[in-house]
């Protein structure tokens, strides 16, 4: 069985994926994880997770192309440029 190992470097920090290993059962996985990711004092704690327990989501449907939901879908750059132009021309008009 394949296990995914997550490692916390210091208390309070988030767990990061450290790697994966093969083991016959949970007990072996726990011991092997200690051996691979814990015996040099490099981890505060480990999460040992059977790969099959992980729910992977990798499809993000956007049929109607509602790009305003996305952080990259709503570009301010062009709007800012035009706004600056308007302000600039307004200033020029006032000064005249």
């Amino acid at each position: 069985m394949i296990y995914e190992i997550f490692r916390q470097e210091r208390k309070g920090q988030p767990f990061h994926h450290a790697g994966s290993l093969e083991a016959a059962n949970h007990d072996f996985a726990e011991q092997y994880a200690k051996e691979f990711y814990g015996r040099r004092g490099e981890s505060e704690a480990l999460w040992v997770v059977p790969r099959e327990a992980i729910i992977e989501v990798d499809e993000f449907v956007d049929e109607l192309n509602r790009n305003y939901h996305r952080v990259d879908g709503y570009s301010l750059k062009e709007k800012l440029r035009r706004a600056r132009e308007r302000v600039g021309s307004a200033l020029v008009a006032r000064d005249r």
Binding site: E22, A23, N25, D27, F28, Q31, Y32, E35, F36, R39
Partner: protein, 192 residues
């Protein structure tokens, strides 16, 4: 440290040195990578224990740990028959590991009660590491306990635990030869 204490420390040290060496023969060829790392780490621990025990005895005798570990003749070693053997089957290796860890636990428990604080302290320190070896051995035992090859290996090897420490198999001399080769090839007085 009296003579009988020195003698039993030397028995344990020899056991750990030979077993550590034999176990390390699996490095690179254990059944799976994960086990390779775990078992190699155990082998390394055992040799570390041997070193600490040799140092304690060597100091009493006014010599060095290396002299005690490598400069005796093969017949002078006090290890159990069980640890000398070159075992080429994993189930036998695990059977030996399990049998040894059980016997070692009982022995260390006694040593931890020693009136000599240094001996008791070292035994406690070693035992804290051996606790992980016992977990490892127990996991394998639980996994293999219904396998006929494994139970046969246990039956075959168990008598060698208490087969005495005066007589050795030819495999001890072979291992001794390998283990001391580098040291013997150096001219006398070489510092390590």
């Amino acid at each position: 440290m009296n003579e009988s204490e020195a003698r039993s420390l030397l028995e344990i040290a020899d056991d750990e040195l030979f077993l550590g060496w034999r176990d390390s023969e699996w490095t690179g060829i254990a059944p799976l990578l994960e086990e390779d790392v775990a078992f190699s780490s155990i082998a390394q621990n055992e040799i570390g224990h041997a070193r600490a025990l040799y140092e304690l005895v060597a100091r009493e005798q006014g010599i060095t740990a290396d002299e005690l570990a490598f400069d005796r003749a093969p017949e002078e070693y006090r290890c159990a028959r069980l640890v000398e053997l070159r075992l080429l089957d994993w189930e036998k290796t695990i059977a030996r590991h399990y049998l040894y860890e059980q016997a070692d636990a009982a022995r260390l428990e006694q040593l931890k009660q020693s009136d000599d604080a240094e001996i008791a302290g070292l035994a406690a320190k070693i035992d804290r590491e051996e606790a992980y070896h016992r977990i490892h051995a127990q996991m394998w035992f639980d996994r293999l306990k219904d396998e006929p090859r494994f139970t046969a290996a246990l039956d075959e090897l168990r008598p060698l635990l208490d087969a005495g420490r005066d007589e050795h198999s030819p495999e001890l001399a072979e291992l001794w030869d390998e283990m001391t080769m580098v040291r013997r090839s150096q001219p006398a007085g070489t510092a390590w």
